[in-house]
Subunit: 434 residues, 2 copies
Amino acid sequence: VEGQEADFIQSSLEGVKPVDITELLEEFDAEESKYVLDLLAPQVGAEVVIELEEDLQGRFLTIFSSEEIARYIDCLDSDDGVHLLNLLSISRREEVISLLENEEKAGHLLDLLRYDDDVAGGLMAKELIKANHNWTIKRCIEEIRKQAENVQKIYSVYVVDDHDKLLGKVSLKRIILADDNTKIADIYDSDIAMVETFVEEEEVVQIMQKYDLDALPVVNVRGKLMGRITIDDVLDVITEQAEEDIQMMSGISADVEEDDTVWIISKARLPWLVIGLVGGLLGAKFISLFEADIALVPVMAFFIPLITATGGNVGIQSSTIVVQGLANSSVFRDSIFKKLIKTFLVAVVNGIILAIIVFGIVIFSTSDQTIATTVSTALFSVVLLASFMGTITPLILDKLGVNPAIASGPFITTANDLLGLAVYFFVAHQLYGL
Amino acid sequence: VEGQEADFIQSSLEGVKPVDITELLEEFDAEESKYVLDLLAPQVGAEVVIELEEDLQGRFLTIFSSEEIARYIDCLDSDDGVHLLNLLSISRREEVISLLENEEKAGHLLDLLRYDDDVAGGLMAKELIKANHNWTIKRCIEEIRKQAENVQKIYSVYVVDDHDKLLGKVSLKRIILADDNTKIADIYDSDIAMVETFVEEEEVVQIMQKYDLDALPVVNVRGKLMGRITIDDVLDVITEQAEEDIQMMSGISADVEEDDTVWIISKARLPWLVIGLVGGLLGAKFISLFEADIALVPVMAFFIPLITATGGNVGIQSSTIVVQGLANSSVFRDSIFKKLIKTFLVAVVNGIILAIIVFGIVIFSTSDQTIATTVSTALFSVVLLASFMGTITPLILDKLGVNPAIASGPFITTANDLLGLAVYFFVAHQLYGL
């Protein structure tokens, strides 16, 4: 790109898939990238831009003129177009929309801008093929011919009545196999899944995954066909959700990536570190209550990390199992009571085994029966309490409408550290008779 | 189900989607479920069984006769059929295959059984529609008519030469829009993605997600079309991988679910708890080296949990960012050197902020300058070291071919606990001049 030989770039990018060009551009700076993009056909350029990471898209949009953005959006499906518009300021949005050549698309975009991007209305695209139930297959094929240019992947033709109310769908396969004069009304499948515009994206994902759907029609409250959600968009939602949950579990509080700046990454990591710090300081305050004990029996201090680490590990394990159970929600899940009983039994099994191991090793290496008893008793209690906390916290958060994955992270670890210390020093204080 | 009124069950399940019947059955015991399944048409029953969780499927297969299993497999796509066969013993597999009515399917299944289930060959189904490049659209539609019964979703027609070598594909949309006498050779798209049978499922997922594919053809080393992988199978792989990574991060060593028995869950949780325990015991051993110091300055013990918790949190944050970076692999990622520099800078920023906070609070509450200096110096060093460990461990594991997600879990926490203790007591010992 240094030499900027336009011909060379053009010829070498010919036939390369847009997403691969995107990967290349992510290595360039904005000016270089714009130079390359200007050399590409608008259709290809638009697909390259839409595949870029969101922060890069934002940077690009600032150096493009409104005309250029409009030209790209003209080439994109409405769901991708609205995604770009959402990155612009409101006044610039209107300018871009007014510059669109395709007036139908402009209308679609204005329509879609009304929805939040985490509900069905925000995921859907307006491009789809619909047919009136009174049409024949022949008429339907003509219509496909007319509409097909705007619709990349057809999957199914949606069947509507005279008021655009969604009745069902006909698969392309069925259209190919049917006789030209068959009426749509006679062959369409009326037993189909659909969602209303305000349904949350998590539910959309669940429905599409459960019923193995490639596309899901979206209707308004009166059943009018508004758009459709395709499987590729849902795939992205699933991947994002999984990444988000994992970041939440690791105590990273914003959606960061390796490529972000040092400052953005530091800022995203700091909140939970500070919370952990406050937990640690509370722990220090708590241990200080037993200063006299420790001065007399310093061996007490040796097992602090053992107790806190086990509490943390057990808590995270428990909460992860509960969180995943909540995610695979089903009507007939175990009741909370049954969950707690089970958690309790698992904790008892693990707690007894760990306590025996620790008792054996401590007795063997120190021959100090008091500390062996203290550590193993405290460990057993901590496993029980940490399991209980790890189970109950995500359930409570879920009831409160908070993403329960947050409970599998530093939150549980910090809480269980404190809990573990309390149990340990309480037991030690009693057993040593101090 | 108690009363077992067959008519009532049959009528109430009519029109219910198979996956919903599956959810119902998961609440019943095997005998009750078999009673219900026997009342359903084989086609519906087969789909209900394939949606069951794997351990339930295994239990069902033991109470079904080989004839019944064969009848179900006759109704299933080859990829689902082979999944059921894989749950049977080898001798029973052969018996079931010999009982299949559809001989073509029997051949398909024998073919698919050869592949591991985590490579492209194990994900693919043999059902697809292919057309010779010399055919006309008319001939192609006739062929679709013939083959369509076996293929649930068509997506594209694959174009092959006389030796079954994959040349490209034609979308159904294109077939509908083309003239009857057009030759396939003139309209097919030759620039398509394909994978060989031995490609790992992770790579299959990446390709399909990157290029937004609904179906991906699978070829053998000589380019012969062997089968195709559809997006719904890939969706399941993605979800499974995400769940697996999260479980690995939480120190759960086998794929367990809330519904599993107490013993299975306990067993899956124990290994990492024991490793954490051993880490804790090593920590105790280490602290015991400073027994005299603690007896003199018990305040040293107060901040043990603070140091270990921060080390653990920082380590998990770092490793998560690295692991997610590895997952979104791209040719042009930052070099390892650049990653380490960045990690170092982030650690310095966070370390300084945390150290200042801790110094302030400790000085304010204890007026003890030595302990404030000790804790903040140790904390800063621990943040640096834990970041380094959290970054380097997943990179090394990845190079060794181990799933790097394992490094984001108890492994890092345990290692960083020990590292944190070492730094802390070393610093304390120096500063107190003991």
